[in-house]
Structures are given as structure tokens and as C-alpha cells.
Amino acid sequence: MLAYEFMQRAFLAGALIGLVAPVLGVYLMLRRQVLMADTLSHVSLAGVAAGSLLGVNPSIGGFVAAVAAALLIERLRGLYRTYAEVPVAIMMTGGLATAVVLMSFGRTLSQSFSSYLFGSIVAVSSTQLWLIGGATVLGLIFFIVFRRPLYTLTFDEETAGISGVPVKALSIAFSVLTGMTVAAAMPVVGVLLVSALLVLPAALALRIAGGFLSAVIGAVGIGLAGIFSGLTVSYVGNTPPGGTIALILLLFLLLGMALQKLRLLWKRKNHEPDKSPKRKEGIESI
């Protein structure tokens, strides 16, 4: 399977996005911004359409649109503090409507759109690979350098601000990174499933992790396992890679939840003292 160049590219693209998307997912979940990934992917579709019509590389068009939308959502978040989901809904509607209208201007667009809607990781271009690589490197640097202020920011924005964390600047940088990662993940699983790559690994990791760092590392592990096994199953079974990856990640989540439930029932039945990771000696350092 790995003898084929297109599969090598697919695994490389999957590995790169699998390193950063689940980390971002953990922060998005804890900041209650899960829907942001879906919204930005829809807006980036408008960027793809605009790029195609203007003769710009569609991937770059999608990238620019996602980052601009992320910044706009951050701005609107300040205006709708009580209803955090409102800016996301506004942008999702606006993005999708723009994409539909722009699509109608170009007949060839509709055909190439399916690859953006459902992903085409096995046909990742050099430009897309560079964009994914760039987003991954920037994302990892961001999450490593700012891990401490990000932890405080995620815990509580007010407390973070009073502790000296530059809340506004960090939130803007986080939004830009979210836009970049969503746009980079589009070729892997497509617009419709991009949030699967961010949210599903994080959702499972947050259920089983003992601490913050283990949640982040766990999410990356689950994400990479899902991507690699999804690509393999897709190659063997000749199924669409994006959907296969999303389904496998969903299966991981359901299995994890079921095992957790079984463990809880077994513990209750045997009245065992708690032996979960929380009792383990040694503390993670952020």
C-alpha cells in the first residue's frame, strides 16, 4: 500500500493534521467552541469558490476565508457574550450562502466541489501538503510555547486576564490557528466531516484522561490511530477515506464510552476502591 506515492502523501498529510487537529479540538471543547470548526469549514468553502472564480488556488482561497471568518467570529464573540453560539450561527449561514451563490457562477465548480465536501486525501496536491505542513508546524509551536497561558485562558478568561494573560491577543491567535487548521484539514476529510477530526479524538480523550497534558497527548494518539487505520481500511475496502476516518473515530469514541461504562459497573459490583489514574503518584506539569 505504501509503495504508491499517493498513499505516501495521504499518510503524510494525515500524520501532519493528526498531530495538531486533536490538540485544537481539546481546547475548542473546553472553551465551548466546538461548532466553530464546522462553521469555519463551511466558510472556507466560500473561499474555495471565490478562489476558483478569481483564478487563485482554491486551497489558498479556502485558507484565507477560514482565517478571516475566525477573526470575525472572535470579534462577534465580544458583542454576543451571553449567546456564544450566535456568532457561529451567523457565520455558518453567511459562509454557506456565499458558497452556494458563488458556485452558481461557475459550472465546473460544482464538480470539483465534491472533493472539498467529502475530502480527497488520496489526491492531496503539493500546495495542499505545504499548507497542511505549515499549519501543523505553526500550530505545534503555538501550543507548546503558550501552553501555560492557554491553560489559564481555557480555565477562565476573567481569571486569566487578571493573572496577566493577554486574553485578547491570545484569543485572536487561537482563532487564526483554528481557521488555518480547519482549512488544512479540508482535503483530508472534507468540509462536512472536518469537525470529526477535531472533536471526536478530543471527546474520547477528555473522558478517559487523568490530567490536562494526558488529555492532549491522548487526543493526538487517538486522532493518529483513527487516521492511519481509516486510510488503511479505505485502501483495502475501497471506501471513501474521509468518511472511513470519521466512522472509525466515532467507533473509537463509542467503544471508549462502552468500556468506561463496563468498568464502572464492574467496580460498583465488586465495591472496589478507586484505582483510576487520579490515584497515581506524580503530577503532570503544564
Binding site: I162, K278, I286
Partner: protein
């Protein structure tokens, strides 16, 4: 010495003011209580004092001379501290350690001094034994204690507590007041606390400011401040485990 001063502050969230002509001085090294009925914008006044909100009119000034010309370290315990996201993936000690982040910077290592501060803060609020628990497994009162420990670990010049006794039993509340009294007396910390429990807290406070319901043309703050009935011999440097 005046540490922070609000003068004729007016502020609102929409088009109507919720804070009207409030003037308030916070003195260095005092234990100040802010009280008043529901809806009198006590939390908003705290946020104005902290600079989290900008007043429509009036001034909020911080006397930097009170801190030797530098920037004060402020420890803050928000009102919603007890309503954490139950799934926040952190243990007690991990969260309290995050209070040291401003001391160690982006890449600094936690040294013995920071570890001592963390242990000391957790012991002061009686949570050292539960340091390896996940935040989501704690009761509301225990979460409040963890937030207080996180504020204490910063060695603050000023502690701002917004209804910190929410979810605490009587004994824990008394221990909290004693601990704050100790911080004021022995460490020179200035403590500003929003509270409804004046009957319990009154004897530990230096001064109480009462906010009144908003009425047009009248300043929202009560003209008289209630003197405390401080009792000698209060120590309260440790919070006993329940």
C-alpha cells in the same frame, strides 16, 4: 493609604446604567466587605475596580505608589468558581500550580519555592489531602477552596473574592474569614470580598460598603459604612480538614 479609588462611576451593560454614581476607596491592608441586596451590581463594581470593565463616566484609579510604583499582583476568585465545567481535565494540584505560571514564565521550571507555595496554599485551605482529585469530582465548596488556593499561591498584594462562600458549610465559611483575616494581618494583603453573610463575616471585616438598589438621581452607595467588631486573637492561618 488609598490603594484604589472609584469616583462617581456610572456603568451599564445595555442602554440603562446598573451602577450609578458609585464612589469607593479601597485602603491598603484592609479587609473590605461589599454587600447589598441581589441586583445591586456588586460583581459589576468588583469588575470595574479590577479594570475588567470600563466605566461610562467617572474614574477608577489605582495608586501605584501603594505598590512601590510597580504593578500589583491580584488574586481573583470569581463568583462562578463553584460551577466549573465538571469535565475540566485537571487535578487539584495542577490547577493550583497554574497560579505560579506568571512567576515561572513561559518556559521556566517549577522550583522548590513554587512547590512550597503550592503545598502551603493547599494546606491553608485544607485541600492538600485531595490534591490528586480531578476538579470535576469535587463539591462546590471544595472547588471554591481550590480557587482560593490558586489565588493565594500567587502571593497577591490584593485578593478579590466574589461571594467565595457559595456552597460552603458554616465551619468552612468561618475558616475562610479567619484565613483572610490572617492574610491581612500577617501578610499585609488587601482583601475585598463580596458577601451576603454579613452576620458571620462582619466581625472579621475592617469595613463594609453597602450597595443599594438603583434609584434615579441618588448615588447607589450607602452613605454610612459599618465599622467592624474585630476581635483580638483571631489567627486562622490553617484551614482544618473536614
Amino acid at each position: 493609604m488609598i490603594l484604589s479609588s472609584m469616583r462617581d462611576v456610572v456603568f451599564g451593560y445595555a442602554d440603562e446604567p446598573v451602577v450609578h454614581q458609585v464612589s469607593l476607596d479601597v485602603h491598603k491592608g484592609e479587609f473590605l466587605g461589599i454587600t447589598g441586596p441581589n441586583g445591586t451590581a456588586k460583581t459589576t463594581v468588583l469588575k470595574l475596580l479590577l479594570g475588567l470593565l470600563k466605566p461610562w463616566s467617572g474614574t477608577v484609579e489605582l495608586n501605584k505608589e501603594a505598590f512601590g510604583g510597580g504593578k500589583p499582583v491580584i488574586g481573583y476568585v470569581p463568583q462562578h468558581a463553584a460551577s466549573f465545567n465538571g469535565g475540566f481535565p485537571s487535578r487539584v494540584i495542577e490547577l493550583v500550580r497554574s497560579g505560579c505560571h506568571s512567576r515561572v514564565g513561559l518556559f521556566g521550571r517549577f522550583g522548590l519555592e513554587e512547590e512550597r507555595l503550592v503545598r502551603d496554599s493547599l494546606e491553608q485551605v485544607g485541600m492538600w489531602e485531595l490534591r490528586r482529585r480531578r476538579i470535576g469530582e469535587l463539591s462546590g465548596g471544595q472547588k471554591q477552596r481550590v480557587c482560593i488556593a490558586r489565588a493565594l499561591v500567587q502571593c497577591p498584594d490584593v485578593l478579590i473574592l466574589d461571594e467565595p462562600t457559595t456552597g460552603m458549610d458554616v465551619r468552612s465559611r468561618t475558616e475562610l474569614y479567619r484565613l483572610m483575616r490572617h492574610q491581612v494581618r500577617h501578610h499585609g494583603v488587601t482583601v475585598v470580598m463580596v458577601t451576603h453573610g454579613l452576620e458571620e463575616a462582619g466581625r472579621y471585616l475592617d469595613r463594609v460598603v453597602t450597595l443599594e438598589r438603583l434609584e434615579a438621581e441618588h448615588p447607589q452607595i450607602a452613605p454610612d459604612m459599618i465599622p467592624s467588631e474585630l476581635q483580638p486573637g483571631l489567627s486562622g492561618d490553617r484551614w482544618e480538614m473536614e
